[in-house]
């Protein structure tokens, strides 16, 4: 069949080899997978899946790929994304129990719903269009309504409050987005092994979504090659963080629950993803080091670490690393197979208690005020126990201070009065200049853009609590702008509290820092925490109101018009003559009406030459009573039937 082409192919073989020589050997695309397991103090277990895919600098991005997902690369090429992070989260990170001062929480504790931020590599004027196109593309890629972030009322351009300083940064979040398996499947599609093989095979949807917290994150950044004429490399980091509750059979309440991978996920790992450069499982135990000796050279000592009086591990770790306050067991899952699946288990023997390191201040946010007209938003920062021990205090002018950045987006229908900003430190109101170091406000414009508030507070180290309150009026939306479930209320996205002088990092002093997970822990990351999402009830109109108004107005107009017309063509003289001639025979309503009209017009009643008015009135009243009863009966029937249905 192909003999036609076959005849000229040999001519080109030579050429193709020449090309190959010219290009030389290139760096290859790399993929690695890792799973970090960590028992939490409140009897839960954290599982953190970490996948990293690196594409080396090349000119063929978006065109030829081996491991790296083509779709992501095309996205980066098309929208000139420099850095981007997209997260889908369900549940709220418990900063008190699950930690707030380690790289894991500062990177993976995300606000509820969808959060997207991106830095673009385009001229300033095109950033907004790039952002809009990117939201649409991501929306299609991840089966989510990220395209709602397109409208300028839903995103903001943070200057310094977000942590990344760039004027080409855009940030937006959708607190109401429901996150479920339809978002996870496209996310998994970006992994070379999807959930068919390797660590990701553990992602059994029912067990993953049963957890207390679930956050799926995609972070990509481009790495400049530095070489002339060569494109930039891309690093794609995908993480999934879940907090699960192991099922316990023990009756002792202070005993930590024992678990294994199969009991947590309902599945076992039957081998690594063959495409991964490294695939490891880590188990991190916190607060375990106080009494144990420092050197673990001997075999017995090492053995003691994973089978001791406190707990038992079901598998022997390949290596053990230690940090100031935690132990890290490393398992290589390459050796596991179908016949011998990797099923790590942890059995506690003695009750054990420890606490996680917390951020210097713990933030909560709430609404104040009542009614549908106005209110106030308050952010409360409370000192945590571990505050004194933390590094990162700044001593300026002989005073010890903690810096805290607050970044908050207000939708335009929450009309914030920035002059009402009040700051209380330890229940005492402070003037702005005392604690407020820097503030950046961009007010909202109705139906055009959302408002943004960035503040840098400098609080004294011995602070117990700090509160910030700001008042707002609730705006009115156009009837078209209400969402389908308007009575539920409107969400104000989470505020971000970050501590610019505090950086979290975990350094296991691992010379083999080839593991991407450990090297990402080693990097100093800004300590940050997100507050709750607020639900603001706005005045919602009765959506059938326009029709009611139309109907009532029309009826009134019709009545007015009809009566005017009747008055215009009325012949009073003739009627009177008629009445006179009919006088003897007319009783009842007509007479009553004529009397009534006469009364209204203020004329003296010409008493009709009538017989006994008593008889007449009795006749009248009986008819009237009948009518009233009829109407009342109809009303009662209506009421009965309408309530019945």
């Amino acid at each position: 069949m192909a003999s036609l082409i076959r005849s000229w192919i040999p001519l080109l073989i030579l050429q193709s080899f020449l090309v190959a020589i010219a290009f030389g050997s290139k760096e290859a695309e790399e993929f690695s997978e890792a799973l970090l397991l960590k028992p939490l103090p409140d009897r839960k277990v954290l599982a953190h899946f970490h996948f990293e895919n690196r594409a080396p600098p090349s000119n063929s991005h978006g065109r030829h790929h081996h491991l790296f997902p083509k779709a992501i690369s095309q996205l980066v090429q098309k929208f000139r994304v420099k850095e981007m992070e997209l997260s889908f989260t369900q549940g709220r990170w418990n900063h008190e129990h699950w930690g707030g001062f380690d790289p894991l929480s500062s990177m993976n504790a995300k606000p509820v719903g969808v959060e997207l931020w991106a830095v673009f590599d385009v001229p300033q004027s095109q950033v907004d269009t790039s952002w809009k196109n990117l939201t649409h593309a991501l929306s299609g890629l991840f089966c989510a309504s990220i395209n709602f972030l397109e409208s300028s009322t839903s995103y903001a351009a943070p200057t310094w409050g977000f942590g990344t300083n760039s004027d080409k940064l855009r940030y937006g979040s959708l607190p109401r987005e429901a996150v479920c398996t339809e978002n996870l499947t496209p996310w998994l599609k970006l992994l070379p092994c999807r959930d068919k093989d390797g660590i990701s095979a553990l992602m059994n949807r029912p067990s993953v979504y049963r957890g207390f917290y679930h956050s799926q994150r995609l972070h990509l950044s481009t790495v400049e090659s530095g070489q002339e004429g060569l494109g930039s490399g891309i690093v794609l980091e995908q993480t999934l963080t879940v907090v699960l509750q192991p099922e316990t059979t023990s009756v002792e309440t202070n005993m930590q629950p024992s678990w294994s991978l199969s009991s947590l996920f309902g599945r076992k790992v039957v081998g690594s993803c063959v495409l991964a450069k490294s695939s490891n499982v880590y188990l991190q135990l916190e607060g375990r080091l106080g009494h144990e000796s420092k050197n673990v050279d001997t075999e017995i000592e090492a053995h003691k670490l994973w089978k001791n009086a406190d707990f038992d591990l079901s598998l022997k770790p390949d290596r053990v690393l230690r940090e100031s306050s935690s132990l890290l067991f490393i398992f290589d899952i390459d050796k596991s197979s179908d016949s011998e699946p990797f099923d790590l288990g942890l059995t506690w023997k003695l009750p054990s208690k420890w606490s996680c390191q917390q951020a210097p201040l713990q933030a909560t946010r709430f609404l104040m005020g009542s009614g549908n007209e106005r209110g106030a938003i308050a952010i409360l920062l409370k000192a945590t126990e571990s505050q004194e021990k933390l590094p990162g205090r700044v001593v300026t002018d002989g005073r010890c201070t903690i810096k805290a950045n607050i970044f908050q987006i207000f939708p335009w229908y929450v009309k914030v009065y920035y002059h009402t900003l009040q700051i209380f430190v330890d229940q005492q109101q402070k003037t702005d200049c005392e604690v407020l170091k820097k503030i950046n406000v961009s007010p909202s414009t109705d139906k055009v853009s959302s408002g943004m508030l960035e503040m840098m507070l400098e609080l004294p180290c011995e602070v117990k609590s700090a509160a910030i309150s700001i008042e707002y009026d609730k705006g009115f939306l156009h009837i078209d702008e209400y969402p389908p479930d308007a009575n539920q209320g409107f969400d104000i996205p989470s505020a971000l509290i970050s501590f610019p002088s505090h950086h979290a990092s975990l350094d296991f002093q691992e010379e083999l820092s080839k593991s991407p997970l450990l090297s990402s822990f080693k990097e100093k990351s800004l300590v940050r925490s997100y507050t709750e999402v607020l639900l603001v009830p706005l005045t919602t109109p009765d959506f059938s109101m326009p029709y009611n108004v139309i109907t009532i107005t029309c009826t009134i107009f019709a009545l007015y018009f009809g009566s005017l017309l009747n008055v215009l063509r009325r012949r009073i003289g003739e009627e009177e003559r008629f009445l006179k001639s009919q006088g003897k025979k007319t009783f009842g309503l007509k007479q009553l009406l004529s009397r009534l009209t006469a009364k209204i017009r203020g004329r003296p009643i010409e008493p009709p030459s009538s017989d006994s008015p008593a008889a007449q009135s009795s006749f009248l009243s009986s008819k009237l009573i009948f009518k009233i009863i009829l109407v009342a009966g109809a009303a009662a029937a209506w009421q009965y039937f309408s309530t019945d249905n």
Partner: protein
């Protein structure tokens, strides 16, 4: 109140003036007109207001040229588009032939071959014949088309022609006919050389079709069999140059895998069915640069082609295969092909940001897993397919590539790269499939009833005359799809009388029709590229109009809604007015009758 007092008068002096005056049946004064006038004027003002109201609730609909759309589709249906083509036949070494006679014979032959198929994209032939006799003197037909190539007499030397490689002959012919002007359609030339019968034996007639637009027939003793030769010349022209040597049945000419923006994305995917058995990778960048770039360059006038590739893992096929003991391999049959592509697991899609409205052709290399290796395709006649692949029109093609050895030696999977030789073979099959998607065959020999023709392949995948065929078909396809799109748009618009149609849509339809007209006129003048580009424009404008966002979200303000809003006002008011006017009119007639009877009574009295 004047009227009432007037009317009171008769009652007061009834008994006095006329004893026969009956107040019940007659009246003495003229009935008044004031009330009648008021009520009728109100009624009329309402009636006058109705058109204004109608106008105010009317929905904006840009006027679409329905008539033009219908006439365009009628025209495309009834008179297929034809391009002017020139055929220049040169007979070398023919002694006693009249060129005009030959011309009419060739014309007859062409008519015979084309009369049954006057499909879109065929040629409007004009023929010129040159006969060069043994003394190297030429006789030419009076060319009614002055722009055809002028053949310089004696350039082709009878006995030296056709010696050597076919490729060099093709090149030399290109030099001979290099003076061709191209402004009124393409010129195809067929050279017939009657050689001296040197050996005395009956030599076989050799017919070759070149890479450009030339063909030649070489043989000896052709003068005697010239009827046969004339038939072959017309056959070369009709079957090869005009129809591209393809079967009419294979793929219908109306399908062209080109997106409406004139782009094709060739998406190559290497599917490792089970990476636990083996993992194969390829160096596609090299293939792209070396082998695919010339093809995309050659096809540039037809479509803007971009190439991308990816490697996917864990992608089992969704049909079953069975073990064949005799062949020592797994077999899948042609009946399984509809189920071979596993749309659940093969996520071949490119990103939404990349494509737009371009056509994506998927080319898939499937590497079977250890459980189904080697995997072979069995044809319906029981043979094993040589290419081990298949195409799906308008979607792309699939090739099953079996690794060298199907034994899994070690526990850990081996990571291999497909060798350049294998990869080139795969690309050969790809190109064959690609040609097939465009409707061309990939055989070097075209056989017809009269004999066989050798077809010289081009390094670029497509020869020039094939590209001509494609460009004609492309114009046709674009115009056809433009007319069907506009036709369905007009049907849709006419079926929904209360749908908003923006001006933008109207403009797009207008421009699309204009571009279609331009394409038709360009085609009839022989401008291949200009007609292709304007037909592409026509098609993309038509699709833009059809897929305009304002049409997709139909804002449908229904009649029911209208009634619900306006009836609470208009029903009671109109009732009042009509009734009042009616009553007043009735009363006026009554009173007038009364007055008339009184008048007659007075007259008689």
């Amino acid at each position: 109140m004047e009227e009432t007092s007037d009317r009171l008068n008769p009652t007061t002096d009834t008994s006095g003036v006329t004893p026969e005056f009956d107040p019940k049946t007659m009246r003495s004064t003229k009935p008044g007109l004031k009330r009648l006038f008021i009520t009728t004027s109100v009624l009329f003002s309402f009636l006058l207001g109705v058109p204004f109201l109608w106008k105010s609730v009317e929905i904006y609909r840009s006027p679409l040229p329905f008539h033009d759309i219908d006439s365009l589709s009628d025209q495309i249906e009834s008179t297929p588009l034809r391009f002017p083509c020139n055929l220049h036949a040169v007979f070398v070494g023919f002694e006693s032939k009249d060129p005009d006679n030959l011309r009419s014979q060739i014309q007859d032959g062409i008519n015979q071959l084309t009369h049954q198929s006057s499909q879109c994209g065929s040629c409007n032939v004009s023929i010129s014949v040159t006969v060069q006799n043994l003394a190297e003197q030429c006789l030419e037909t009076l060319a009614h088309n002055p722009s055809t190539c002028s053949y310089r007499c004696g350039v082709i030397i009878r006995n030296e022609f056709g010696v050597g490689l076919d490729d060099t002959v093709d090149e030399s012919l290109n030099d001979v006919f290099s003076g061709c002007s191209e402004n009124s359609g393409k010129t195809y030339s067929v050279v017939v050389v009657n050689k001296e019968n040197a050996n005395g034996e009956d030599e076989v007639i050799k017919a070759v079709v070149g890479k450009r637009r030339h063909a030649w027939v070489v043989g000896s003793g052709l003068e005697e069999r010239y009827g046969d030769i004339v038939a072959r010349v017309s056959e070369i022209f009709v079957k090869v140059f005009m129809n591209g040597g393809r079967d009419e049945e294979s793929i219908h000419g109306e399908f062209m895998p080109v997106g409406s923006d004139g782009k094709i994305v060739l998406s190559f995917s290497l599917l490792n069915s089970n990476p636990r058995d083996w993992v194969y990778d390829w160096d596609f960048q090299r293939i792209d640069d070396a082998l695919l770039a010339p093809v995309t360059k050659a096809l540039a006038p037809i479509a803007n082609i971009s190439v991308e590739s990816q490697v996917l893992y864990h992608t089992p096929k969704s049909s079953f295969s069975s073990w064949d003991e005799k062949l020592q391999s797994y077999i899948f049959r042609t009946s399984d092909l509809p189920f071979f592509v596993n749309s659940n697991e093969w996520h071949l899609d490119t990103s939404a940001g990349a494509s737009g409205r371009s056509k994506i052709l998927q080319f898939v290399v499937y590497i079977p897993s250890g459980k189904e290796c080697p995997l072979l395709l069995q044809l319906p006649n029981g043979e094993i397919s040589k290419t081990n692949g298949f195409i799906s029109p308008m979607w792309g093609g699939v090739i099953v590539w079996n690794p060298e050895s199907c034994d899994k030696d070690s526990e850990s999977p081996i990571r291999n790269t497909i060798s350049p030789q294998d990869l080139e073979q795969i690309v050969e099959i790809f190109l064959g499939q690609f040609r097939q998607l465009f409707g061309f065959k990939s055989e070097a020999i075209y056989t017809s009833g009269l004999g066989t023709y050798k077809i010289l392949p081009s390094e670029r995948g497509f020869t020039e005359w094939e590209l001509d065929v494609l460009s004609r078909k492309h114009t046709c396809f674009n115009l056809h799809s433009c007319s069907t799109t506009l036709g369905s748009l007009s049907r849709l618009v006419r079926s929904l009388p209360r749908m908003i149609i923006k001006d933008e849509i109207g403009e797009q339809v207008k421009y699309s029709l204009k571009a279609a007209k331009l394409a038709q006129s360009n085609a009839s003048l022989g401008g291949y590229s200009s007609s292709a580009s304007s037909s592409r424009e026509a098609r993309s404008l038509a699709e833009n109009a059809f897929f305009h966002p304002s049409i997709m979200s139909v804002s449908y303000f229904s009649y029911e809604h209208c009634f619900a809003v306006y009836s609470p006002f208009f029903l009671p008011v109109v009732g009042h007015i009509v009734l009042a006017a009616f009553r007043e009119w009735k009363r006026y007639r009554q009173e007038k009758a009364k007055y008339l009877t009184w008048l007659t009574r007075k007259k008689t009295a």
